[in-house]
């Protein structure tokens, strides 16, 4: 695998109706690094991922992807963002991961089908290929989405709350997969809520509370001092906020 991609954030501000959700954030997700993004609800964690994928426009500053085309980034959405009643089978959902290779018109072929099948087996969903996604449990759905990422074979992976509302067994299985990706030299960024899991498994952490609080090795970033500072964040936007005066 060639040089892993990296993401450089240069004084990035992402906003909803001009109210910043991520405010003046600078730093780098290094090639091959594995970073947890943690912080209170409303801290801008998911917003930051969407800024990186390009789904949300950058209000100010720059987000630069190095070593990868934005379309080759794999993104795991929060479970609630997908319509689970949609009539699509597990096999077809996983096969959408082939999009960059087959596009809208080319044949998926036996090879692609075999790849999807192998991915489904790797996440422990063998036998579920023909099931509609509406019949899956939350954990099984998450496994299916991981299988799609396996098929995407991306060198930069962004995961939004991959282990939320998932039982211990599934979490352990999916964590093993994530560790394997990290070991293969891919760059990973994951939004997480479980501090214990982050401390035990993720080497680096970005702690944000709209403003960046700490970014570095997990043990240092999650120090008691930093956590207290993160908690002090105002949750609500202020209606009478003035235009931000800090240098762009």
């Amino acid at each position: 695998m060639n040089e892993a991609p990296s993401i450089r954030l240069d004084n990035v501000t992402l906003a909803y109706r001009r109210h910043p959700a991520v405010h003046h954030l600078s730093g780098t997700f290094r090639p091959g690094s594995f970073t947890a993004i943690v912080g209170p609800n409303g801290a801008g964690k998911s917003t930051l991922l969407k800024g990186i994928t390009g789904e949300i426009r950058v209000e100010d500053g720059r987000i630069e992807l190095a070593g990868i085309d934005r379309r080759d980034v794999a993104y795991l959405p929060q479970a609630s963002e997908l319509d689970r009643s949609f009539p699509i089978t597990v096999a077809d959902l996983v096969a959408t991961g082939l999009w960059r290779r087959v596009g809208a018109f080319r044949r998926i072929g036996r090879e692609g089908r075999a790849e999807a099948e192998a991915a489904i087996a790797a996440v422990g969903l063998s036998g579920f290929e023909g099931r509609a996604i509406g019949t899956l449990s939350g954990g099984q759905m998450q496994r299916a989405l991981f299988a799609r990422m396996l098929v995407q074979d991306a060198r930069l992976l962004l995961l939004d709350e991959p282990f939320t509302a998932i039982d211990a067994k599934t979490t352990a299985d999916l964590l093993a997969l994530v560790h394997r990706w990290h070991g293969e030299g891919r760059t990973l960024v994951a939004v997480l809520h479980d501090f214990d899991l982050v401390r035990a498994h993720i080497p680096e952490t970005l702690l944000i509370a709209r403003e960046p609080v700490a970014w570095g090795p997990t043990a240092e970033a999650l120090s008691p001092d930093n956590l207290v500072r993160a908690r002090a964040m105002h949750e609500a936007f202020m209606d009478d906020a003035l235009a931000c005066g800090r240098a762009a």
Binding site: Y75, E81, P87, I88, A132
Partner: protein
């Protein structure tokens, strides 16, 4: 009267009934994938809105060149697309939600269309535009409906994968550079074409029925998208045929008969449908072992 006479007599005896049947079958076949995707996209009411939106365009065509199929078709297509795109733009550029802006557009369109037709035509013309005249399809109208059905089925087959992914997970398609916007636009164009093709036969207000009702009923009979499209096509074909037979024997106008039969099939599907039908659920089959 014997049974074959009852079922086939009208079509053996009268050319206009055969033409009506051919037109409706083409419409039903072509409407099946359109209706299925409208429902999957939660856009079934959007179909209704666009059907109304076609009216002023068709009316202007009528005003300029009388009862000309070409003029009314072109006018209707332009008006339908303009409203679909206009409502989308307003929803993105202003705080007004898309459903509200669509409602605004179609109410104005309907008023405008009726006003335009009545400046020149008679009440009969107005009724023709609103409710169609399936029993008077000429060659040109049949070619138009057949052509639209062909284009629709081929287009849907060509972009099927993109259509499904765009529908299920638009953010994913955008992320991998799949061109979701183009797919959406193509789909809207097909919706408008089908409505325009249908309004000659069934009228602007009724044509949506033949697209949406079978597709809605089909959700009770199949779990996969392809299965729903097939079921929807079968139900649409059945409604077209049975509706024409009923209208012939009962002396009812054709397009309401077709839509009423489609509505009846819809009710039957709600009651007896395999997936989520009320009766199968009430029977409470014993649960399986695993």
């Amino acid at each position: 009267m014997s049974l074959p006479d009852l079922l086939f007599g009208p079509f053996v005896e009268f050319g206009f009934m055969r033409r009506a049947l051919a037109g409706c079958l083409a419409l039903a076949l072509s409407g099946a994938p359109i209706g299925t995707f409208l429902i999957l996209r939660r856009m079934s009411l959007m179909g209704d809105v666009m059907a109304h939106a076609i009216l002023p365009g068709a009316a202007i065509g009528f005003l300029l060149s009388g009862f000309s199929l070409v003029a009314m078709t072109i006018g209707g297509t332009i008006a339908g697309l303009a409203v679909a795109l206009g409502a989308g733009v307003i929803a993105r550029a202003t705080p007004l939600r898309e459903d509200a802006s669509l409602a605004a557009f179609y109410l104005v369109s309907l008023a405008l269309g009726v006003a335009i037709v009545s400046t020149r035509g008679s009440n009969v013309d107005l009724l023709h535009v609103l409710f169609g005249n399936v029993l008077a399809l000429d060659d040109a109208a049949l070619y138009l409906v057949g052509g639209i059905a062909t284009v629709t089925l081929l287009s849907v087959a060509a972009v099927y994968r993109a259509l499904v992914v765009e529908c299920f997970n638009p953010a994913f398609l955008r992320a991998v550079g799949g061109g979701g916007g183009i797919v959406h636009l193509l789909f809207l164009t097909l919706v408008v074409l089908n409505l325009v093709g249908g309004f000659n036969a069934l009228g602007t207000l009724m044509v949506v029925g033949l697209i949406v009702l079978p597709a809605a009923a089909a959700t009770f009979w199949a779990e996969s998208i392809a299965g729903r499209i097939a079921a929807s096509a079968l139900l649409g074909l059945a409604a077209s045929y049975a509706g024409l037979v009923v209208s012939y024997h009962a002396g009812l106008p054709a397009s309401p008969s077709i839509i009423l039969v489609a509505g009846g099939l819809y009710v039957l599907s709600i009651l007896f449908g395999r997936f989520g039908g009320l009766v199968p659920r009430a029977l409470r089959l014993r649960h399986l072992e695993a």
